[in-house]
């Protein structure tokens, strides 16, 4: 008996040592001594679910600067909480009111707008509520009407997760004359509390309608995971502007300010903007995101005005991507335009 126990102990020790050695060496080509720097970025799920961050941004950044990007996908709300708790070096978000509050509280600096695309209202092909081609407000009114007439089925699915898409949805309901919190209590109004991808899958399953960013929708539709049509895609209020905000090193010490700035710089650089413009083109026939910098540089067109109106912060008589009081040791320039550019 004693002999057996001793042999067992020896065996366990041997196995543990062996497996540790094996697993230790699977960490890739890097050896432990030359670990790259790591930058933690909290990001919205609508960016993350398309794969652009993992497949394009992270590899390039690693190659170029030997900095490993650690993306934590959460809704904009969750991303902001992570940042406030000191977990991230920068955040990638798309919810102007929440961004503004975050910066007002002193957490974020040096905001840069780097991409945009559009939100769309998607739903079943046969479109039972008859919203195809309507304006956003009219479409939402029709959906409420249809929903109230069919209280026994889920007609609208909301993410209800404090994300940027959810923030936009709430604003759109309000513009159409409804209170999101009241609608939530109605039986035809479903909520997932989940990311964009998850919500699209559920919406497709229930043959319901939802608001989606176009990037995630295209990816999921193309891959045959969902069966939903884009029914409403017109209206300036559907523009979806993505920005990066750097964590204020004075508010939260110990964050890698310089490298986070490097990411912001790269995203808005010619190379970064090109990478954004290319992503998904081959696979989906159109890009999932559009680079924002060329539009801002051109200072022309509807999209330019919409980005200002829905993605820039108003600072006195100017629209700016980052008001002066939120700038800190910036190594890059900020776009700002007189408010008169947008007009009425």
């Amino acid at each position: 008996m004693n002999k057996r126990v001793n042999t067992l102990v020896l065996l366990v020790l041997l196995l543990t040592g062996l497996s540790y050695g094996c697993i230790g060496s699977t960490n890739g080509t890097q050896t432990a001594t030359e670990k790259p720097k790591v930058l933690t970025i909290s990001t919205t799920t609508s960016l993350y679910d398309t794969g652009i961050l993992e497949n394009v941004v992270a590899p390039i950044f690693k190659e170029k600067y030997n900095i490993e990007l650690r993306f934590i996908p959460k809704g904009t709300g969750g991303a902001i909480l992570d940042a406030k708790s000191g977990a991230s070096d920068a955040i990638l978000v798309h919810a102007l009111p929440k961004e503004q509050a975050f910066m007002e509280e002193g957490y974020g600096v040096n905001r840069k707008v780097f991409a945009y695309n559009f939100f769309v209202i998607v739903g079943p092909k046969d479109d039972p509520a008859g919203i195809r081609g309507l304006s956003v407000s009219e479409a939402l009114k029709k959906i409420v009407e249809y929903g109230r007439a069919h209280p026994d089925k889920i007609v609208w699915v909301s993410r209800d997760d404090g994300s940027g898409t959810n923030t936009k949805e709430i604003a759109l309901w309000e513009k159409a004359g409804f209170d999101f919190n009241e609608l939530k209590n109605e039986s035809w109004f479903g909520t997932t509390g989940a990311g964009m991808g998850n919500t699209l899958l559920y919406t497709s399953e229930r043959k319901a309608y939802t608001l989606s960013d176009i990037g995630t929708y295209l990816k999921y539709q193309k891959e045959g995971k969902i069966n939903l049509d884009v029914l409403v895609d017109k209206g300036e209020e559907l523009i979806n502007v993505y920005a990066i905000i750097i964590i204020n090193p004075k508010k939260i010490p110990g964050k890698d300010f310089e490298d986070a700035m490097l990411l912001a710089e790269w995203l808005t650089s010619e190379e970064g903007q090109k990478a954004i413009a290319e992503y998904g083109k081959e696979e989906f026939g159109r890009p999932l995101f559009y680079p924002a910098v060329p539009v801002l540089k051109s200072e022309q067109g509807d999209v330019f005005k919409w980005i200002l109106k829905y993605g820039f912060m108003k600072d006195g008589d100017k629209y700016t991507e980052c008001p002066e009081k939120f700038r800190y040791n910036a190594t890059y320039d900020f776009f700002e335009f007189p408010a008169s550019v947008v007009g009425g």
């Binding site: 057996r4 543990t16 890097q30 993306f71």
Partner: protein, 235 residues
Amino acid sequence: MAWDYIIQGFSEAVKLIDDPYVIEIALRSIKVSGVATLMAVAWSLPISVLLGLKDFPGKWLVKTLINGLMGVPTVIWGLVLYLMFVPLGPLGSLGLLYTEMGISVGQALLITPIIMSIVVNSLESIEGEVRELALTLGADEIRASFQVVRESVGGIVLAIIAAFNRAIAELGIALMIGGNIYVKGGVYNTRVLTTAIQMYTVRAEMSVAIALGIILMGIVLAVNLLSNLVRKWLE
């Protein structure tokens, strides 16, 4: 519909099983949960031996507490540990959030009551006879206690196996503390089998999810088989 997924998933899964990406995630799962088990064993065994062999006032209370802790859902662990581990939280300076070690620590806490409970029970069930026998054969108190621990080695092995299986199958902590991070060739990745399965199911990439599921089941079954063999051999 669902059957199509499963049949297609299985056939694709077979192809994916030797994919380096899949292997990396599987090995990370074993590593993270293995480290968790080692840590938990390191602090559980001495305490369990004490609990199993010594009598003291309030012992039943401690045992009740341990049994109660077994029921704490993993998301509760995830939530509590997230609040502790965020850099500005009480334990933030340890830098554990979104790291492999963070998951290991969380899983170690999760499985500690499991190890303790099984070990204490097995010690107590043998204690009476073995100790008395040892004492009558002329052993002193310490040697007698030692003999009790030796005799309950089967129970200890069972506890370790059960704990490892619990840890590797766990999702809440791995997701909330680990964050399911994956960058190709990355050094700071935290994606493990459970978080990957959850993610691929959400993304509706069923074949990868099923492949990873088969591997997870394989690991759990293999570990169980091994533990049965070991216990048989010990008896």
